[in-house]
Point group: C2
Chain length 424, copies 2
């Protein structure tokens, strides 16, 4: 791509914006139809998609890509079906467009109405998961937005064919295929160009590693939504039901450790530590979780023949994304909140307590996207929370906070209707 | 300030965040009380405030500051009363905090509740209008946020005393005076530090010239809200009631030309141009508005002995902030919309038409914060729209669009309450 990346991205964005007019002019039924067509086309293009993906996979193996990355890159017949099923599921959701969010008439007779409208042209920057190409496109189309998709070069062949398949489906409808644009991934200049296409691109959403998210958020003049680095905590209160606490802890840490809503640190009130920790540490060890602990916890572990490491200062703020956890004893709820304020990332914090008063205190002291009371941190998730689909989890306070579904992919406009009113 | 600006801003932000806890822990009655105290203290400190302001004014005159800037810098007895009245008015508004925005119970028994919460620490970067120091502080306090205020060095003495007066009022309440912090304005390094205080500052809002806004939005790693450059248009449709059109046009352009919701361009449907333009151009001329017009308009002006200039390409995208307007004839509504899409800033666009169908078309084709149908562009304003107060007008699509009042100064959090649910 090189020198002309800015021109290339500008051209793609201009095409996308023009095409987006067909998407806005369409009815919700039309948009639903598009998603169904995409689902069909994905299913009927399985051979073509798998062939392209096997090219990416061959290159990944040649370049000795990490196994976990290879797993993310891999497409299979069942993963293609999942993408198609996702399109159908999203097509059945209520349209987020044209909703009246507020309406009133002023004393001077002016009628005010605030309605939901699409952003326009939305860029996605993501890593080697080709399913994001389809998942993001369908959420953006259903919410009336054109999509500029910039995936990883390691998934280039897969992404190319997936976009080709989706555009083929669009060609069978009244909506212009140009609403989906693949941004070349030959080199980094296209990312830079996308992040500086101010006025051409309305919003960029990064999805991937913390490093990718930082690059996008810090390097952009286009508005961005920071998504999810999660150093999430589970705090076991003095008033906790310890029988509930153990499965909540294990689920939060081990259910899917690689994602942002997994827990990284366990905080235990000192009054229940002697009772809870021997059981909890043993259960974590049995689940193959590496334990980084403070000195008090180390004593309890030692007395119970459980191997641990003393946590370094850096451990407390590390998002492991793997089977590794920090454990500390805190004197009270306030100390737990102070620890979270110091080391957390304002994503999801959980408290296990039977005391409504303590839960309320913990909620008031927390400054995060979601607080879990007596449940797993893993529930901070668009599908789990009933959004039907999720394009990412916002870990910032602007615009959307927490899981983002169709509704979060809209903005608003005011319509003020009068009969000649002027300002005095 | 110099080298240690980062440390200075970090310290102010830390103090503000700690103090913000007293603001969140307070009741709405407490916050109301604080604003009333501020109003009282402003009134009783008039002599002190005027003395400080006269120092700034003396320096402004020495440095030959532009008259219009001097007018903005000047504080008078009546302007101090206005600030105090503003505090009382905001104190009477409904609290935007703790509102339940969504609530439901999932099939697995989890109870979901989304509530409004403050951002936390909000920075304001603004120019030589000392009243912004008070206006911004009261909106931020009422919405539960701590305020980091970075005004212009030319208003340094005024801002210092205004912050001192407000902090004195806070000292008489249970809320920590540290919720209001003045960021030193000796040199630009404090702005840079504020814009990079990621994690310390939750949001920065610029208020002022287009250049200031660009500096803040482009140079920031802290989330920002872009406020209002406005190249607003008034389109006179073929179906317009021309008697309504003239006052709407004049009000949009001349009521207060220095602000962002003033009109910069008049677009007239060709079928009504011969009838409307002779009257409209004469009225604009009589109101001392400089006319930059296209060739067709120039012919009509010439035939009516009205002096005009031929508009350059640059004119169409210029925000004059003064008594100057562009005028063009367009063949139809679509051409008007195309012109707006090309030269507009997505702020406010007005259509004058008796046709509901044409109004609907214009609304659908517009991509802006507010569309005015048969009314003046000057109504894109928080007070006029019944928000009670305004901290600025968002000219971006993220978070808030259009006027921002108390509600727009909040974010949300999810509270998920269970009885031990885990993800399967």
């Amino acid at each position: 791509m090189g020198m002309d990346a800015t021109a290339v991205v500008a051209e793609l964005a201009d095409k996308a914006r023009l095409a987006a007019r067909t998407l806005i002019a369409a009815t919700n039924k039309d948009r639903t139809e598009v998603l169904n067509r995409i689902a069909e086309e994905l299913q009927s293009s399985e051979i073509e998609i798998l062939a392209a993906n096997s090219e990416d996979m061959a290159r990944a193996k040649e370049e000795a890509m990490a196994e976990s990355m290879q797993d993310r890159l891999l497409l299979t017949s069942s993963r293609i079906s999942d993408m198609a099923a996702g399109a159908i599921q999203v097509s059945k959701l209520e349209s987020p467009l044209g909703k009246t969010l507020r309406e009133n008439t002023l004393p001077n007779g002016l009628h005010l109405k605030q309605i939901s409208v699409p952003f326009g042209v939305v860029g996605m920057v993501y890593e080697a998961r080709p399913n994001v190409t389809v998942d993001a496109a369908i959420i953006l189309l259903m919410s009336g937005n054109a999509a500029l998709l910039r995936g990883s070069s390691s998934a280039a062949k897969s992404n190319e064919v997936l976009v080709k398949v989706m555009r083929r489906a669009l060609a069978k409808t009244d909506i212009s295929p140009d609403v989906i644009q693949l941004v070349p991934s030959d080199d980094r200049s296209s990312v830079t160009a996308l992040l500086h296409a101010r006025g051409k691109v309305d919003l960029v959403i990064p999805r991937g590693s913390a490093a990718l998210i930082r690059t996008v958020v810090d390097g952009s003049t286009v508005p961005t939504i920071e998504t999810g680095a999660g150093v999430c905590h589970v705090y076991i209160d003095v008033e906790a039901d310890l029988e509930k606490a153990l499965p909540i802890l294990l689920n939060s840490k081990t259910h899917r450790p690689s994602v942002c809503n997994a827990a990284e640190t366990l905080l235990v009130h000192e009054a229940v530590a002697a009772k809870f920790l021997p059981i909890a540490l043993a259960a974590l060890r049995d689940a193959k979780v590496k334990l980084n602990v403070d000195e008090e916890v180390a004593k309890i572990a030692g007395a119970n023949q459980i191997t641990v490491n003393l946590a370094s200062e850096a451990n407390w703020s590390t998002e492991y994304n793997s089977l590794e956890i920090n454990v500390a004893i805190v004197p009270n709820l306030l100390a737990a909140s102070d620890h979270i304020a110091k080391y957390g990332t304002k994503h999801t914090e959980a408290i296990v307590t039977q005391s409504q008063e303590n839960a309320a205190k913990f909620i008031a002291l927390s400054d995060c996207a979601a607080v879990m009371v007596n449940t797993s941190t893993r529930f901070t998730d668009g599908e789990q929370m009933g959004f039907g689909a999720e394009i990412g989890i916002s870990n910032q306070k602007l615009h959307a906070r927490g899981p983002m579904g169709l509704e979060q992919m809209t903005t608003t406009t005011w319509i003020v209707t009068g009969s000649g009113q002027i300002r005095a």
